[in-house]
């Protein structure tokens, strides 16, 4: 049975993290703090060491998940631990800081860590939400399958274009050739359609969701009185419509795949910046001990 990293082994890492947080809070509340609390007390050093080791280990997940040969636990188990122990860092680091914040490198490390964790939360949410949407969108097909379907339609469109006169031939050919999927980051994430089409009398214009070319085909259909021509145009309109729907699904697929990964462009660089700030934090604390 499929088991999500959230519920991995009965939420083992959830309970481990919960105990870790509870113990930290308990000791923080219990111990007679030399006033005021901070990283310089014995508890501060302890929590700081735990937190720093956790951060380094959590960062190592990026390396571990590529290490297919490793026998040290499954990647799923690592991910589960990564999520829960990462979340527990909020508590551990805050207690380590003793709620002292300021405009300095120490708080920078803390803020970067919080940003990494928050972007990670988005990642967890994305991993829980998007795979299902992804499957629903493509109906279980791969993107290659969808492209092959588009290509099949294209083949038919191109085969029949010559029978429609030079203007329509140009329009259909340009619609096929100038179909665009994806593009820049924004285009991918917003599923923007940058397709274009050469329309008679209008030149090269935007062709969002193939609607202009479909309109042209339908318009031609309404004007023709030739029976064979009408049948051909009707088939063309079906093909263009089906093609537009396929392209929409492909763009949605690109969009969701992008959303599933875009948070990593924050999570990973911020994590490394956090490790850098952590190094500076530790060094600077002991430079001026």
């Amino acid at each position: 049975m499929y088991q999500s990293f959230i519920t991995y082994r009965g939420g083992r890492w959830f309970w481990i993290s919960l105990v870790l947080c509870a113990v930290s809070i308990g000791v923080y509340v219990w111990h007679d703090l030399p006033q005021p609390p901070g990283g310089g007390t014995w508890l501060g050093y302890t929590l700081g060491t735990i937190g720093a080791l956790l951060i380094l280990w959590l960062t190592y997940l990026g390396r571990r998940k590529r290490n297919y040969a490793s026998n040290l636990g499954s990647v799923q188990g690592w991910t589960s631990a990564h999520v829960y122990l990462g979340t527990s860092l909020i508590i551990i680091a805050t207690l380590h800081a003793g709620f002292q914040f300021g405009w300095n490198v120490h708080t920078l490390a803390y803020v970067l860590m919080i940003m990494v964790i928050l972007s990670g939360f988005f990642g967890v949410w994305a991993y829980l939400r998007y795979p299902e949407i992804l499957t629903d969108n493509t109906g279980g097909k791969t993107r290659g399958d969808l492209y092959r379907e588009v290509a099949e339609i294209d083949k038919q469109l191109l085969r029949q274009r010559a029978k429609l006169g030079p203007e329509m031939e140009t329009a259909v050919t340009s619609a096929v050739e100038r179909t665009q999927v994806g593009g820049g980051i924004l285009a991918q994430l917003t599923a923007r359609d940058d397709s274009r089409v050469m329309l008679p009398g209008q030149g090269l214009v935007a062709n969002p969701d193939q609607k202009p070319i479909l309109d042209l085909v339908v318009e031609q259909l309404s004007q023709t009185s030739h029976r064979e021509q009408a049948a051909l145009l009707r088939e063309m309109s079906n093909l263009v419509g089906a093609r537009a729907r396929l392209l929409q699904r492909i763009r949605r697929d690109v969009q969701i795949q992008g959303l599933l990964r875009v948070w990593l462009y924050f999570h990973v660089p911020l994590a490394f910046a956090c490790v850098a700030a952590l190094i500076v934090h530790v060094i600077s604390v002991f430079v001026y001990w």
């Binding site: 006033q35 914040f101 490198v105 991918q188 992008g258 990973v268 910046a273």
Partner: protein, 593 residues
Amino acid sequence: MRVLIREIRRTAGDSFEHADSTFEGDVLTIGRATDQVLQLQDRQLALSHSELRQSGRHLSIRAQGSEQLFVNGKRTRAARISAGDEIDIGAYRITVRQGPADYDVALDVEVGELSSQEASFGVGFKQSLDQSRLSKRQLSWGLSLVVLAVFLVVPAIGLFDHDLAAEMRRMPVPDDGLWLSGPMHSAHRFMGDNCNACHVKPFVRVRDQECIACHVSVTHHVDPLLHQFSELEETRCATCHKEHKEPSVLVRNDQALCGDCHGNLQASSPSPISVDDASDFEHHHPEFKLSMLVPSGGALDMTWEIERRPVNDPGLVEQSNLKFPHDVHLDAAGIEGPQGRVQMVCSDCHRPEAGGAYMQPVTMESHCADCHLLTFDAAVPDRVLPHGQPDMIVRLLEEFYSREVLLGGEPAATARSVRDARRPGQSPGAMTAAERTAAISRAQQQAHQVAETIFERSTCAICHEVERVDDPDRDSPWQVLPVRLAHVWMPKGWFDHSSHRTMACADCHEAETSSYAQDVLMPDIASCRECHGGGNARNKLASECVDCHVFHLKDTGLMRPDEPAASLRPIWSDLDEMRGDRVFKMTPVKARP
């Protein structure tokens, strides 16, 4: 090798057309480039993809570089081929056939199911974030290096040159202020942002010398010659004094600060000590001890020593040599005074010192003399004796009565008998020598009678203990025992009357029911505990050790001195002296060899 190449194209409808060409040579190159023998127009293919060769009677095909091809549906990099084999390269299918008579082989080259353009549809699109210009690796390196440079490398330059560091702090460049873990305490702000004033060596904790450099007069907690506690010697200034904290607090005030040692001091002390264990005001603190003034010696050579006694000691009496019933003076019905009955209150006599912590000394002149007139003769109620000079009293009385008998004037009631000895109508100047001698003798007699009365029965004796001393060298045989009142009863703790102004005096001092000056009216620890709890108290005023006690005690020697002082006194002695009680015997302490 002679090869017939037949390129087959699909045309509109389902018909085909083909074009034949002949190749003669050793190597038949296949690829997308124009210099290839067999040019395949598929964008996915490499410029030079494969080579077909004849070796002996066999033909073999080998993919170039890292390219791959399919022979009869099986992926491979090289294969021996013969008639009937199908080779798939990209969108193209090459079918190997038996060549015509003068050919070694024939190749049917056909675009597969899709045209080359169709087959690669979708390939050219950027449809993954990895294809965008954003790179996680570059971003990670970039951000990390920026953080390291701005927050570590640039500020660290100042570590090698303090002048440069100071210059950097003035300029808008990253400096070591970024390493500040919290704001500096206001007491230290005068140093500006010169971190190196205290942080002298990198990676070395702030040393006590840097503190002592300014705080030159800070004293120790105990005399290291008397008591050797390794804990005290290992304790740094910064153990208790915390800088760069938020909120800004310079002195630790948690109970553990004291309790770590004082909680079990009796058992752990290497030498016997007189301090009881304490770690929490409410639950682990000895009964208050009072510094009782104990007189010794006789009336003429009386001295006081301080004796520490618990406040709940049943035999505790104050030995001030004063008679004073608080209850009479505080009687709700009032007390008889020269101007009639007055209702007295505590503050009539006990006035706070400047600052309000302790009370001013009570003095005869300021607080008693308004009622307690030192008159000695009912006939002359306006004549009073001076206070505090018992030796002069007898002489003053002799002088007074001698003047009365010799000069006359309106006679005082008591003096009348002295003067009546004169003959009627006779003026004093007319007295004979014998008469004058007799008159002065009577005046002296009278003076001694009055003196005996005031010293032993009335005026002086109302408040003072008076002893008769038979000493022929003295004018007066009476000696008023010197009075010593404690100014600070509990000199080892700090108490501030002004912070207890919301309370009544009687809440702590049971003066209204005290009939004797011997009564000690100091509250015990239980009275304080009605309001004050320990540092962790929840329903009482949480009171830490340092709320009442100080660490740096007087005359315990300097903290971290260059050379230990030769000899020092018990720790409490000078504390008492500082607060006004100067009469005690100090125990000289031998210095260690």
